[in-house]
C-alpha cells in the first residue's frame, strides 16, 4: 500500500463501534482520506450493509478524532460504490476477530449466498459446528453453535 497521509493514519486507528477489536481500516470501511494545506480533510467511508446502524457513530468518531488532532474542517462522505465486501478485510483483522470470539468470514465464493461447509469454533477450534441462524446480532453476522464445546458464537458472513 502506498504511504498514507497523517490524517489517514488517525482515521484508520479508530475502532469499529460494534467490533472494537478491529479498526475501520482493518474492516475496509475507510475508503479514502484526502487533506489539503488549509487543514481540511475529506473522508470517504462505506457501509458494510446498507442499513448498518454504526455508520453515524463511525462518522462522528472520525470527525472528532481529526478535529482534536488539529484539523480545521472534516467532511465525511458515505460512498456505496464499489460495494463493500468481506474480501477487503485484512488477514490481521480476521485473526483479531477470531481471538475476540467472532469466526471470521471465508472467501465469498460463486453462489448467490456464501454457505460455508463449516466454520471453525473461535472458542475451541473445532470444525464440528452448525449454523443456528443465517442472521445474528447484527446484519453482518450469522449465529453458530459448536457441537464440541457447546458454545454459541457469531460468524462474520461472507458478503
Amino acid at each position: 500500500m502506498v504511504s498514507r497521509s497523517p490524517a489517514w493514519k488517525i482515521a484508520a486507528d479508530l475502532p469499529d463501534p460494534e467490533l472494537p477489536v478491529v479498526t475501520i481500516a482493518d474492516l475496509g470501511i475507510l475508503r479514502d482520506v484526502t487533506e489539503d494545506d488549509q487543514g481540511r480533510v475529506h473522508v470517504q467511508i462505506t457501509p458494510t450493509y446498507s442499513g448498518c446502524p454504526a455508520m453515524e457513530a463511525i462518522s462522528e468518531d472520525v470527525v472528532e478524532a481529526l478535529l482534536s488532532a488539529g484539523y480545521q474542517r472534516v467532511d465525511v462522505e458515505f460512498v456505496l460504490a464499489p460495494a463493500w465486501t468481506t474480501d477487503w478485510m485484512t488477514e490481521e483483522a480476521k485473526a483479531k476477530l477470531a481471538a475476540y470470539g467472532v469466526a471470521p468470514p471465508g472467501p465469498r465464493g460463486d453462489g448467490p449466498v456464501a454457505v460455508p461447509l463449516s466454520v471453525r469454533c473461535p472458542q475451541c477450534g473445532s470444525l464440528d459446528t452448525r449454523e443456528s441462524s443465517r442472521f445474528g446480532s447484527t446484519a453482518c453476522k450469522s449465529l453458530w453453535v459448536c457441537r464440541s464445546c457447546r458454545e454459541p458464537f457469531d460468524h462474520f458472513k461472507a458478503l
Binding site: 457501509p47 450493509y49 446498507s50 442499513g51 448498518c52 446502524p53 460512498v79 456505496l80 460504490a81 464499489p82 460495494a83 463493500w84 465486501t85 448467490p112 449466498v113 443456528s132 441462524s133 443465517r134 442472521f135 445474528g136 446480532s137 447484527t138 446484519a139 449465529l143 458472513k157 458478503l159
Partner: protein, 268 residues
C-alpha cells in the same frame, strides 16, 4: 379490505412538490416518482418486517427478520435520499419518509398490507426478495450511477433474504399437513399482488416488465420444492405507483410517522 374505487381522483400532491405533479413536468420528475416507488417498496417492507420483532415463532427468527428489515430500511434510505436530490426541492430522506401523506407514497400493494401470519410473511418475502434480486441486479448495470451503486450493494443483501424465505417456504410447504395447507393459503393470498410489480412505470430506469421472467424463474422452483402449486388467481387491481393504496396503508403510516409529526425535529 376496502380499496379505492376505480373512479378515484388523481393522487393529491402537497403544495411543496407541485413541480412533480404537473402534467408537463420535466422527465426528471418522472424519474423521481420511479425512484420513490422503489424507495417506498423497501421502506414499507421494512416497517412491516419490524412488526415481527418479538412476535416471530422463535428468538432467532426475531433477529433474522429484524436484520432483513434493517437491510430494507438501509436500501430505502439511500433511495429516498437520491429521490430528494433528484427532485431538487431540498427534501431529505426524513422529510420524504415522515412528512408525505398516503397518496404521495408510491409503493405497491404487495408490501403494504398487514402480515400477521408467519406463512404470509414468508410467502411475501419470497416474492419481494425474488423481485428485488432481479431489480437490483438490473439497476447495478444501469447507466444511472447512483442507482447502480445502490443496486450493486443491495443485490448481495437480498440474496440472503431470498435464501431465508426459501428455506421457510420449503420447510413449511413440505412439512406437516397443517403447515402445508397454511403455506399454500399464504401463497394464494400474496400471489395476486405480484403482477403490480411488472406494470409499466413512467420514468422507469429498468423496465418493470423485463423482470417478470427472472422473478418467476426464481420463485417457481421454490414453490415446486415446497410441494406447493403456483396459484391461479386474478391479479389484484393495485395502483400504489399512482398513490392509490389499500385501507391498511393509512394505519401503517400513522404508526410510522406519528412520533416525527408529533414532535418535529425530535432526536434520540
Amino acid at each position: 379490505m376496502i380499496t379505492p374505487p376505480d373512479s378515484s381522483p388523481p393522487p393529491l400532491r402537497s403544495s411543496g412538490e407541485q413541480s412533480v405533479g404537473d402534467p408537463d413536468r420535466p422527465v426528471a420528475g418522472l424519474v423521481v416518482d420511479y425512484v420513490l416507488g422503489l424507495a417506498d417498496d423497501a421502506l414499507v417492507s421494512a416497517q412491516r418486517m419490524g412488526w415481527w420483532i418479538s412476535r416471530a415463532p422463535q428468538l432467532e427468527e426475531d433477529v433474522a427478520l429484524a436484520n432483513i428489515g434493517l437491510d430494507q430500511l438501509g436500501q430505502a434510505r439511500a433511495l429516498l435520499s437520491y429521490a430528494g436530490r433528484l427532485e431538487g426541492a431540498g427534501r431529505t430522506e426524513d422529510d420524504l419518509a415522515y412528512l408525505r401523506d398516503e397518496r404521495e407514497f408510491r409503493n405497491v400493494w404487495l408490501v403494504e398490507r398487514a402480515q400477521t401470519d408467519f406463512g404470509v410473511a414468508m410467502a411475501r418475502l419470497l416474492l419481494v426478495a425474488a423481485w428485488q434480486s432481479e431489480l437490483y441486479a438490473a439497476l447495478a448495470s444501469s447507466s444511472d450511477e447512483t442507482l447502480a451503486a445502490v443496486g450493486a450493494k443491495a443485490v448481495k443483501e437480498v440474496a440472503y433474504h431470498l435464501d431465508h424465505a426459501t428455506s421457510w417456504v420449503v420447510r413449511l410447504g413440505d412439512g406437516t399437513d397443517v403447515s402445508h395447507e397454511r403455506m399454500q393459503a399464504a401463497l394464494d393470498a400474496e400471489w395476486p399482488y405480484l403482477d403490480e410489480l411488472f406494470r409499466p412505470v413512467e420514468g422507469s430506469v429498468v423496465d418493470p416488465a423485463s423482470l417478470r421472467a427472472g422473478v418467476l424463474d426464481r420463485v417457481t422452483p421454490v414453490v415446486a420444492e415446497a410441494t406447493l402449486v403456483v396459484p391461479e388467481v386474478t391479479p389484484a387491481r393495485g395502483g400504489g405507483r399512482q398513490g392509490l393504496h389499500t385501507e391498511e396503508m393509512g394505519y401503517l403510516l400513522a404508526e410510522m410517522q406519528h412520533l416525527h409529526r408529533s414532535h418535529p425535529g425530535v432526536s434520540w
